[in-house]
């Protein structure tokens, strides 16, 4: 009898423990990060919190939250939430008419990985540029930003610059902007911070499908000494070998003002043009193969180019179609070249436009289109844009179509990022050479319908900065230089509608 009771009690206790352990509530913590220079809760009468299953977009739950005494002490709990293995969470602040005035969105959150941990959402006014409570560890001009994966943006290279524009030492530290946590720190592998062997500026940084980042070209400045980067470097996701020197075949990587663009789905980077250490403008095109860790020359462009743009173009089925290379040449009849996957070399795109374009910005847009905005034509900043249409390449319509007076301010050397159905053009220089603090939002319609939507002011005028679309849907603008502050370590974030 005693044995029976003992056994039953033990079994009972064990099973109750197991059951209790498994039915524990999964707890996650969300931190709303708000800007330093605006109150995102101004005019908000209701918060709508939507959680959406990352694997099944139709599965979503919305929780309304109506604060009685404002949002100063925002702290509340959502209970009885169905278990989502991975989800995206969006917070919308609505005004009395139900219009969204503030917004924040998470990246993809894995519940089990983030249990008992904190993830962040940047909550700010929509269609506005705000200053997050973050800054880079170093002020950087001519930096590069790469967005690998869903949670990070990596900031590579750049240089410190005086107020008078004198370039100072280049920067070797690589910084990481965590979109998951909304923090900035040195990129590290375990306890070790990643640092390039030397600083680099005037380089390119390309993200590959293999989670590697190719850093190619550029030079290192230390005082008056300048040395060009001898071998392209790969920043690898592999913890054991996170900095790899790569090889070159019939290709001299010692250059700057070149263009390097990842070919989607091929684990390759297409590299063109630039200026070598002797000041020669280059015409060669090379392919970096991430499997072989080798850059190989493939052909020559039809004309030497530097400071040009190069974007991947996708067809109507969103499949990679080819590469558009525009501007940066002194030849007025070779404005743009097209290189498709199946051709051995590039070809000049026929156009009536006879001009030399430089200092412009380019972006890929949907339905086989790409756009080049601003820049200087024959040395004068313009407020126009050039629209490339893949469908016209063979059909005879205007493959390159100019859209005049698109911008509110003629500008060059601006940054351009696409987000959803819009484009954000920020900073640069105006016709007088002054550094601009304004950003212009362009809306993308069907075919050639590209319109100006709004102009927004940044907290800082910027040129030589960089911008990138973050995984949470916001656009990050970082670094650069202006006449009053010199090189900038600040960051700003644009929150789309």
């Amino acid at each position: 009898m005693k044995r029976t009771l003992m056994l039953l009690c033990l079994a009972f206790l064990c099973l109750v423990c197991i059951a209790c352990d498994d039915t524990q509530n999964m707890g996650l913590a969300l931190e709303l990060v708000t800007p330093d220079n605006q109150d995102p809760f101004e005019g908000v009468v209701r918060l709508s919190i939507k959680i959406e299953d990352a694997g099944d977009k139709e599965r979503e739950t919305t929780y309304p939250f109506e604060p009685a005494d404002g949002f100063d002490d925002l702290s509340f709990r959502l209970k009885d939430l169905d278990r989502y293995s991975s989800f995206e969470l969006e917070v919308r602040g609505e005004d009395i008419e139900g219009q969204t005035v503030s917004r924040g969105q998470s990246t993809v959150i894995n519940s089990s990985e983030m249990e008992d941990d904190v993830f962040s959402i940047y909550f700010a006014k929509v269609n506005g540029i705000s200053t997050p409570p973050l800054s880079m560890g170093k002020a950087r001009n001519n930096l590069r930003i790469v967005v690998p994966g869903y949670n990070d943006a990596v900031i590579i290279g750049g240089s410190d610059t005086n107020i008078d524009g004198t370039e100072l030492d280049s920067i070797a530290e690589v910084e990481n902007f965590s979109v998951l946590k909304y923090t900035v720190g040195n990129l590290n592998y375990g306890d070790e911070d990643l640092r390039l062997a030397s600083g680099v500026v005037g380089h390119s940084a390309s993200y590959l499908d293999s989670a590697n980042i190719l850093v190619l070209g550029g030079y290192s400045r230390s005082g008056e000494e300048i040395s060009y980067l001898e071998t392209p470097l790969v920043i690898s996701a592999n913890v054991e070998e996170y900095l790899i020197e790569t090889k070159c075949k019939d290709f001299n990587p010692r250059r700057t003002l070149h263009a390097a663009t990842t070919i989607p789905g091929f684990r390759q980077v297409f590299i063109t043009g630039g200026v070598d250490e002797d000041g020669n403008i280059l015409a060669d095109a090379a392919l970096y193969d991430d499997d072989l860790h080798t850059s190989t020359k493939v052909f020559d462009l039809k004309t030497p180019r530097r400071g040009h743009t190069q974007v991947s173009v996708f067809d109507g089925n969103e499949e990679y179609a080819g590469m558009l290379i525009c501007g940066g040449t002194d030849s007025d009849n070779k404005l743009c070249e097209w290189w498709s996957v199946d051709s051995e070399g590039s070809r000049v795109i026929e156009s009536d436009l006879r001009e030399t374009l430089t200092g412009h910005s380019a972006a890929t847009i949907s339905n086989g289109r790409a756009i080049m905005v601003g820049g200087t034509i024959d040395g004068v900043p313009v407020d126009s844009a050039l629209l490339f249409r893949l469908s016209c390449l063979e059909s005879g319509c205007d493959t390159l179509k100019r859209i005049d007076s698109l911008l509110e301010t003629a500008r060059s050397d601006a940054s351009l990022s696409s987000f959803g159905s819009g484009l954000l053009l920020c900073g640069g220089r105006d016709a007088s050479g002054a550094v601009l603090s304004s950003c212009e939002v362009l809306m993308i319609g069907e075919d050639a319908k590209i319109t100006h939507y709004s102009t927004i002011e940044m907290a800082h005028a910027r040129v030589g900065h960089s911008s990138a679309l973050l995984p949470d849907g916001n656009v990050l603008i970082a670094g650069g230089w202006n006449e009053t502050e010199g090189a900038l370590d600040s960051m700003e974030i644009y929150t789309p509608q």
């Binding site: 009898m1 044995r3 029976t4 056994l7 039953l8 079994a11 009972f12 099973l15 109750v16 197991i18 059951a19 209790c20 498994d22 039915t23 509530n25 999964m26 707890g27 996650l28 913590a29 969300l30 931190e31 709303l32 990060v33 708000t34 330093d36 919190i49 959680i51 949002f71 925002l74 702290s75 509340f76 709990r77 959502l78 209970k79 009885d80 939430l81 169905d82 278990r83 989502y84 969470l89 519940s111 962040s120 409570p133 909304y182």
Partner: protein, 214 residues
């Protein structure tokens, strides 16, 4: 929601646990009654002694018989002792086994057992008393001597017949404590596992939302 789940789980576990115990106790009492009741003793089904059985040494036989008598004297109360002596068929290895078990009991345990038997075996005592009254002293002496003779010659010392096996064979499986233990554990496990996996889709997740201090 989560609290309700805990309550439901807890109650179901307690109910199933109580259910298994509730089934066990009556079955155990019933089994004990069956063993102690004279009318229920399977005396007629004893096996005949084999020549090998009766070829054991006289000393061993004497020891065994003496030990049996001592055990009966030490471990049984007066009415119960009489009942046990009457109901147990002498001369069988099987019936000697309980006597050996009792030999291990301490005096305190024996007293507890007697109390227990008093409570649980009223019917058995009543029947024994009635039978005792009807028997004469001479008959009892004669029966006792006959029993001793039978016991001496019918003891099964064969190692090929382990006593516990024979005893287990005589107890129905549903009267064995192991059976009801397995039933109880299985019931509790079923409830817990069912709740654990059956309701997994309704498990909850909470998200605390705070604002980062500027």
């Amino acid at each position: 929601m989560l609290r309700n789940l805990y309550y439901i789980t807890g109650w179901l576990i307690l109910i199933s646990f109580s259910f298994s115990l509730g089934l066990y106790y009556p079955a155990q009492a019933f089994a004990e009654d069956g063993v102690a009741a004279p009318a229920d003793s399977p005396v007629e089904e004893t096996t005949e002694p084999t020549p090998a059985d009766s070829a054991e040494t006289p000393q061993a036989e004497a020891d065994t018989a003496t030990g049996t008598e001592k055990k009966a004297e030490e471990n049984t109360a007066e009415p119960a002792t009489g009942a046990t002596a009457e109901t147990v068929k002498p001369g069988e290895g099987e019936v000697l086994k309980p006597a050996e078990d009792r030999k291990r009991l301490s005096p305190e345990e024996a007293a507890k057992l007697r109390d227990s038997l008093k409570i649980k075996s009223r019917r058995k005592q009543k029947q024994t008393k009635e039978k005792d009254a009807s028997d004469s002293v001479i008959k009892r002496i004669f029966d006792a001597s006959k029993d001793k003779d039978n016991e001496r010659f019918n003891i099964d010392y064969s190692p090929s017949k382990p006593d516990p096996v024979t005893a287990d064979e005589e107890t129905p499986f549903y009267k064995h404590w192991i059976f009801w233990t397995i039933i109880g554990v299985a019931a509790v496990s079923g409830v817990v596992i069912g709740l654990k996996y059956g309701l997994s889709s309704n498990k909850t997740m909470s998200i605390d939302i705070t604002r980062r201090e500027p």
